[in-house]
């Protein structure tokens, strides 16, 4: 927006240099759009492949639009793999993670920001340190712990470690810190307890960041690969991103079916993004440390 704020020129005086600049601008715009189309082409290609019959996926020259529309790939994968089951697992666990992450961080951040209690500074410092700790480095002890708790192949074992993410606490605290103290104090004088203040004043005021965080958390939980891959082994228990890596070998080089599987797995996050584009952007900014 800001970069292109060229000096205003009156409409009628179109000097050659301005005309050249406009032409150049048009060329750059066209190239940008072309590049965007090229960038999204792999997704398009996967979608198109998924509705072609197998024979058509390997013809030369390739067909950029299916000659025969074939939806049987989708019915095939739905009938011949636990895809529906994995879908249900993913929806269930991603929703649980989203709700719990938001709730736990909301409560913790509210106390850290609004209640003056002993050890508060120390606790916030601990949260900030944990922010830098990569869970990938302690994958082995985490697995041993979950195994000792008897939670391997169990959704609790899948969900619990994903709740230990300090980022939402940090974001909520930053947002709560900006709310003037008088607002809460007024309600407290009227006799409202801290829980009332949190849920009837602070949460509604932060509704938009809550929605943004919810969408980003859901997408991240749905897409998570490493931890579900480690902790779930039982085929019916898998989540969809892990599950689909198991079936592709079974199809061999049947790329139409593999792409149908991929498109099905990608659908929820793609739809969530396309509907909530602005919220996703806000959430990404907040998690990156830049306020949206």
């Amino acid at each position: 927006m800001t970069v292109a704020s060229a000096p205003r020129t009156a409409r009628r005086t179109v000097s050659p240099s301005v005309r050249l600049a406009r032409l150049w601008g048009g060329v750059v715009t066209a190239l940008t759009v072309l590049l965007a189309a090229l960038w999204v082409f792999p997704v398009y290609w996967a979608a198109v492949t998924s509705i072609k019959p197998d024979e058509e996926t390997i013809v030369t020259p390739p067909t950029f639009w299916p000659q025969t529309l074939d939806l049987s790939n989708y019915t095939y994968i739905l009938q011949n793999s636990p895809l529906v089951r994995w879908y249900a697992n993913s929806i269930l666990t991603s929703l649980a993670i989203t709700v719990l992450v938001l709730l736990l961080s909301l409560l913790c951040a509210y106390a850290l920001s609004q209640i003056d209690f002993r050890g508060r500074q120390w606790l916030y410092w601990l949260v900030l340190v944990g922010f830098m700790l990569p869970f990938q480095a302690s994958l082995i002890p985490l697995f041993i712990l979950i195994n000792n708790l008897g939670l391997v192949n169990n959704f609790a074992g899948l969900i619990l470690p994903q709740l230990a993410a300090p980022i939402a606490v940090v974001i909520y605290k930053q947002f709560f810190d900006q709310i003037p103290h008088e607002l809460g104090d007024a309600a407290r004088i009227d006799g409202a307890g801290e829980w009332r203040v949190l849920f009837s004043i602070f949460l509604p005021l932060n509704w938009s960041i809550t929605v943004a965080l919810a969408i980003v958390t859901f997408i991240a939980a749905w897409n998570n690969f490493l931890w579900p891959f480690i902790v779930l082994n039982d085929p019916p228990k898998l989540t969809i991103p892990v599950g689909i890596t198991q079936v592709q070998s079974a199809y061999g080089v049947a790329y139409a079916k593999t792409m149908a599987t991929a498109m099905t797995a990608a659908l929820p996050t793609m739809i969530a993004y396309l509907i909530f584009q602005r919220r996703v952007t806000e959430g990404v900014m907040a998690t990156a440390g830049l306020k949206g």
């Binding site: 209690f117 606790l123 041993i144």
Partner: protein, 302 residues
Amino acid sequence: MLDTASQGATLVSREKRGHLRRRWITALLMVAPFVIIYLVFLIFPTFRVLQLSLTNADLTGQGQYIGLGNYTRLLREPTFWTALLNTLYFILLTVIPNTIVGLVLALLVTRLKRLKGLVLACFFLPYVLPVSVVTNIWNWLLDSNFGIVNTLTGSSVAWFQDPVWAMPAVAFVTIWWTVGFNILLFIAGLQNISPEIYEAAALDGASGPRLFWSITWPNLWPVTSLVLLLQLIAQFKIFDQVYLLTAGGPFDRTLVLLLYSYREGFQQQHGGYASTIGVVLMVVILAASLLQSRVLNRGERA
């Protein structure tokens, strides 16, 4: 402080003390659920990985203390150096290229008047796909026999199985997948540069590349350094796409640190040795994080 109330405690101060006590309990109830999970599933494993790295434990956590044995073994193990160098090679292939591509695409997107949302969506969409979907798609596009890339270019390279091309191919897929995130950060950075600076510079007769190098670039540096460091930290932890695209092959050419740790820990049951690799990974990432927080703090103060 709670217990510094003077001896002559009046009814009022006792009431106040009770009030403070209730507040403390409320605060405790609010922070407890998160803090407990956080301590158990993040802080505890972090200490435990340090301890395990000094033992010859298997995947049950049972083992004997062997001092720095794992560390000396690690330093003498050629595979470790291969994994470390491969990780650094992957970082070289992704961090700066991904930042540059992100910046260029952000500059192109911001100057659009119409179609801006649509174009941005095209660049960002891959970022919301699960990694296994991304790898499935690229396995198909880069299939050596029927993939569209080789069909259109006449190439016959088996990208992910080729010793020379495997790592660049994984890096390329990574950039395609994640650049949308960088674009968003750069767009936010560009929007924060006030239009007046450009107008003033334009009045002074500056234009085109001059505007970029003397205004956009220096003003964008805080965001650029943020992007570089976030990338650096993320790419040290690379696992998913390598595991799914090449499984570390061919001939360990794409074996990276986390994959090496995974192999040793989960496939060879060498929990202690795998933890040692984890500690190395953690030290490196913590160093990068500290660097990041310093850079970020400087940005906030400015």
